[in-house]
Every structure is written in structure tokens, then in C-alpha cells.
């Protein structure tokens, strides 16, 4: 009784963060011990780190291109969902429903494998089509992957953009209309500059998620020259029978990558909310 009370008092003096740090250290020590016992080849991991990390360039390329495409599609999708035009509303509804309703990996294969077949069939049936038509639908694995990631994430992010646009009060729309602005002017000058405070933080999260999902592109059989980190890990892991080591290196790289961008992300979020308080909150 007395002893446990003394322990509790001593414990109370250690800050919470300090205790959490201890927990992390214990977990990492346990994992290191397990690595040593399981006989993982740390030397090999160190040797191959450079080659696998070289794929970060392509991982980032895929994620950045994918998020750019996704942002464009999400903006168009959101404007469509908020439109009173039946064509715009219908098209964006179909788009979001399909790309949210099917697995990302299936979409990747559809774009990579199914499109070339469509091209060949069409070219056979309609000889009048311009030459090279079927080749145009044959995409490089990385390009197909970027398209699928962009289309898929864009469909989910449509909701983010829609919420952001709707977060801007109706009075802003009326004030812009009263000045005689067109729809386009109103969006560009008044609504979107205010909506972005709501849109940017979750878009950052989507970007981080996409960096991880870029690993799926490796299933399309990317050539070694432009392989991202997961593909590189598979290549060297298989060659040297060091699959576990290679995968651990990759996992570690993804982890560091997301940790770095999560830090960026929370800083950005803090800065944006500061701006929000300054310009929109009460006195």
C-alpha cells in the first residue's frame, strides 16, 4: 500500500511525454532484439539501402503527379456536385460513384491492361480510325498507375472540395453576384480562396496516403529503370533471397517519408488555422 503510493507519486513527477518516449524505446529495443535473434542480415540491409532509397524519386514522382491530377479532378467533381446543370451533376456523380465503388488495384489493372485491348478491338472494327490509335491506349505502367491514383483519389477528394466550397457562407456568393461577377469570377476570386483553408489540410493527408498507395504501381510490373521503392525491394529481395530484409528497409523508408510529411502537414495546418482566426473569426 505504502510502496505503491510512493511509486504513484514518483510516477506523477515524470512528464507524460517522457513516459511515452520510454514506451517507444522499449518497443524498438524489443524489435532490435528480435532482429538479432531471427538472424536478419543487417549488413545486406545497409548495403541495399542506397539502391532501394533511389526509388524514392519515383515514389515521389508518382505521388506528386497523382495528387495534382486528383486535385484537378476533385475540384471539377465538387463543382459538378454543386452544379444545377444536370450534365455536370450527372457526370460527376457517375465519376465519384464508380471510382469510390471499385478497388484501386482493379482500376490500375483496368487502365493498364484493359485499355490496350479496347484499342486493338476498336482499331480492328473501325479501320477508319487514325493510325496509332491503339498504341495511344497502351500506357507505361507508371503512367497507368498515376492515372488510376489520380482518378481514385480525385473521387474521394471531391467530398473534401465540396465541403470546403460549402463552408464559405452564402453571403459571400450574394456579395459577389451583386457586384456583377460571373460564376467563374466568383469561384476564382471569392469562394475558392476562402475554401482552401478547409481544403488544404485533408488534401495533405490524402497526399501522405497516396505516397503509400504508390506501392501498388509495382504490381503493374514497372521496369527496373523507373522502379519505385517497393518494386526495387522486390527486385533485390528476390535476387538475393533476402525478402524480409528488403521489405523491412522499404517499410522503414515509407515510415520516414510519412513522418516527415506529417510534420509538414501539421505545421501547415497550424498556420492555416491562424490565418483563419485572423480573417474570419470574431473580434
Amino acid at each position: 500500500m505504502v510502496r505503491s503510493e510512493r511509486m504513484a507519486l514518483a510516477s506523477a513527477r515524470i512528464p507524460f511525454n517522457g513516459k511515452v518516449a520510454v514506451v517507444w524505446i522499449v518497443i524498438l529495443a524489443a524489435i532490435s532484439f528480435f532482429f538479432a535473434v531471427a538472424g536478419f542480415d543487417l549488413g545486406w540491409m545497409r548495403e541495399q539501402l542506397g539502391y532501394i532509397a533511389g526509388g524514392l524519386r519515383f515514389t515521389m514522382q508518382i505521388a506528386v503527379s497523382g495528387i495534382v491530377l486528383a486535385v484537378i479532378l476533385a475540384l471539377l467533381g465538387a463543382l459538378g456536385r454543386l452544379s444545377s446543370n444536370p450534365i455536370a451533376y450527372g457526370v460527376s456523380g457517375f465519376y465519384t460513384s464508380f471510382f469510390r465503388g471499385t478497388p484501386l488495384i482493379v482500376q490500375m489493372f483496368l487502365i493498364y491492361l484493359a485499355l490496350p485491348q479496347v484499342g486493338i478491338n476498336l482499331a480492328e472494327r473501325y479501320p477508319g480510325l487514325p493510325e496509332g490509335f491503339n498504341d495511344a491506349l497502351v500506357l507505361e505502367a507508371t503512367v497507368a498507375g498515376i492515372l488510376a491514383l489520380g482518378l481514385n483519389y480525385g473521387a474521394y477528394m471531391t467530398e473534401i472540395f465540396r465541403a470546403g466550397i460549402m463552408s464559405v457562407g452564402h453571403g459571400q456568393t450574394e456579395a459577389a453576384e451583386a457586384l456583377g461577377m460571373t460564376y467563374r469570377q466568383r469561384m476564382r476570386r471569392v469562394i475558392l480562396p476562402q475554401a482552401y483553408r478547409v481544403i488544404v489540410p485533408p488534401t495533405g493527408n490524402e497526399f501522405i496516403a497516396m505516397m503509400k498507395d504508390s506501392a501498388l504501381v509495382s504490381f503493374l510490373g514497372v521496369t527496373a529503370a523507373s522502379a519505385e521503392i517497393f518494386r526495387r525491394a522486390q527486385l533485390v529481395g528476390k535476387a538475393d533471397f533476402k525478402n524480409l530484409e528488403a521489405l523491412l528497409v522499404t517499410a522503414g523508408l515509407y515510415w520516414v517519408l510519412t513522418a516527415v510529411f506529417t510534420t509538414f502537414q501539421s505545421r501547415l495546418e497550424a498556420r492555416l488555422s491562424r490565418g483563419f482566426v485572423r480573417t474570419v473569426g470574431g473580434h
Binding site: 453571403g171 451583386a178 457586384l179 456583377g180 461577377m181 460571373t182 471569392v190 476562402q194 480573417t279 473580434h283
Partner: protein
């Protein structure tokens, strides 16, 4: 200035929101340089009239004519939207809730319309914008964001923003209702100066009967979607004909 010129002509204006008929046939002429004050109980349709004049609401029936251009309600085709937009260029609007653009400074708010809608020269627009801010007494606040301004200051920026488009008529939709009592004076003073110095044509929905008496040329009392009583301030205040008007005036004075 030709005081006989009619700037805003409202004919047989009806507005229905579902089952509720808010306006039941309004006819009104607003002459150049005239200040029309519209008053009445809430729900009597006075704000709806203003919102119909610049087509923030579509009339159910009847027409609005501004600066010689007549428009009715109905489906918004591309052509109709263009017509509404060119009509709005003749109409300035000041809202109860100010509706300043929070991501722009006071000056940026004022020059946004000229720059984006009219394609004015930026230097000229800035110069003119500063003049307008000076006119509403806020030259020193040009670079402040709306959040740093008091309600009265925000509303004065909103007035400058509407003036910057050089409208033929200014609509004021309860411009002081959202303000603390001690801030209404500065806004009303600016509005009065527009009337007396610029001879601005104005339609003002307000409960400020002192302003109506002092600045108004023509007063219209709205009751259940119709103009029940109208005339000069002397006629309406001095020789009130309807019991409803009397009751209302007693309540607000």
C-alpha cells in the same frame, strides 16, 4: 440631374416562396436622386423587394426595370444570366451582414469589382478606391482586413465597395440592423452624405425613422406584401392614414 428620370421601375411584382406569397403586387418608381425609404414589420416583404431589384431573388411575376432595361422572372437561360449581370452593373447593394470578402483588405474589397468585373486599370482603381475610402472616413484603414474593423467600419467599407461600381441606384438592406446602437450613427451619416452630396439614388430598407424623416424623399410602408401607405415624410408621419402604419410607427419611434 434630371429628377423626372425613372431609374428603377417596379411593375406588378409578385414573389412566392412555395406556399408563402411574400410580395403581392408591388408598383414603384424610383426617380434619379431620390431616396426611397421602405419600412414595415419583418416579413412584410421589404427585403424581398430589394433582393428582387438586383435579381438575388427571381420575381414570380412582374417586371423590374433598371436604367431602361426591363427584366422579368423565369428560367435562367444563358442569355437571361447575361442580362441579369448587366442589370446588376447599374445596381449597388449593401447587406445587413456586410458580407465583406474576409481574405481581402478594405481597399482590395473596394477595388475588387472594378478590377475583376469592369477590367479597370489597377492604378486608377486604387486611386479611386482610396478616394471612396476617404469619403466613408476610412482612408487610414485601407490595408486592414475586415476582421480588424468594427461593424460600423465594415459596413462603411461595404458601402464604398458598392459605390466603386458607379451604380445608378444603391440598395440598402437593413444596413444598421446588425450593428451595436452606438455604431449606427456613423453608417447613417455616410448614407446621408451620399444623398445630400452625391445625390445618389437610393432604396433603403430600415427601421431608422429619424433617417427616414430627415433624408427620405419618399416613404413606403409595407404591410403583408403590399404597399399600404406611401408619400413624403410629412404625409406619412404628419398625416398617417392607416391604423397599421400608426401602430408600427408608435412601436419603433
Amino acid at each position: 440631374m434630371d429628377r423626372s428620370e425613372v431609374v428603377v421601375k417596379v411593375r406588378d411584382l409578385h414573389k412566392r416562396f412555395g406556399e408563402l406569397e411574400v410580395l403581392k403586387g408591388i408598383d414603384m418608381d424610383v426617380h434619379r436622386g431620390e431616396v426611397v425609404v421602405i419600412f414595415g414589420r419583418s416579413g412584410s416583404g421589404k427585403s424581398t423587394l430589394l433582393r428582387c431589384v438586383n435579381f438575388l431573388e427571381d420575381p414570380t411575376r412582374g417586371t423590374i426595370e433598371v436604367a431602361g432595361m426591363a427584366l422579368g422572372g423565369g428560367h435562367r437561360t444563358r442569355r437571361k444570366r447575361e442580362q441579369i449581370r448587366s442589370l446588376r452593373l447599374h445596381v449597388g447593394m449593401v447587406f445587413q451582414q456586410f458580407n465583406l470578402f474576409p481574405h481581402m483588405t478594405a481597399l482590395e474589397n473596394v477595388i475588387e469589382g472594378p478590377l475583376t468585373v469592369k477590367g479597370s486599370d489597377p492604378d486608377q482603381a486604387r486611386g479611386r478606391g482610396m478616394e471612396l475610402l476617404a469619403r466613408v472616413g476610412l482612408a487610414t484603414k485601407a490595408d486592414e482586413y475586415p476582421i480588424r474593423l468594427s461593424g460600423g467600419q465594415q459596413q462603411r467599407v461595404a458601402i464604398a465597395r458598392a459605390l466603386a461600381m458607379e451604380p445608378d441606384v444603391m440598395l440598402f438592406d437593413e444596413p444598421t440592423s446588425a450593428l451595436d446602437p452606438e455604431l449606427t450613427g456613423e453608417v447613417l451619416a455616410v448614407m446621408k452624405s451620399l444623398a445630400t452630396e452625391l445625390h445618389m439614388t437610393m432604396m433603403v430598407v430600415t427601421h431608422e425613422m429619424g433617417f427616414a424623416r430627415e433624408v427620405g424623399d419618399h416613404l413606403a410602408f409595407f404591410h403583408e406584401g403590399l404597399i399600404l401607405e406611401q408619400g413624403t415624410p410629412e404625409q406619412v408621419f404628419g398625416n398617417t392614414r392607416f391604423q397599421e402604419t400608426k401602430t408600427f410607427l408608435e412601436a419603433v419611434l
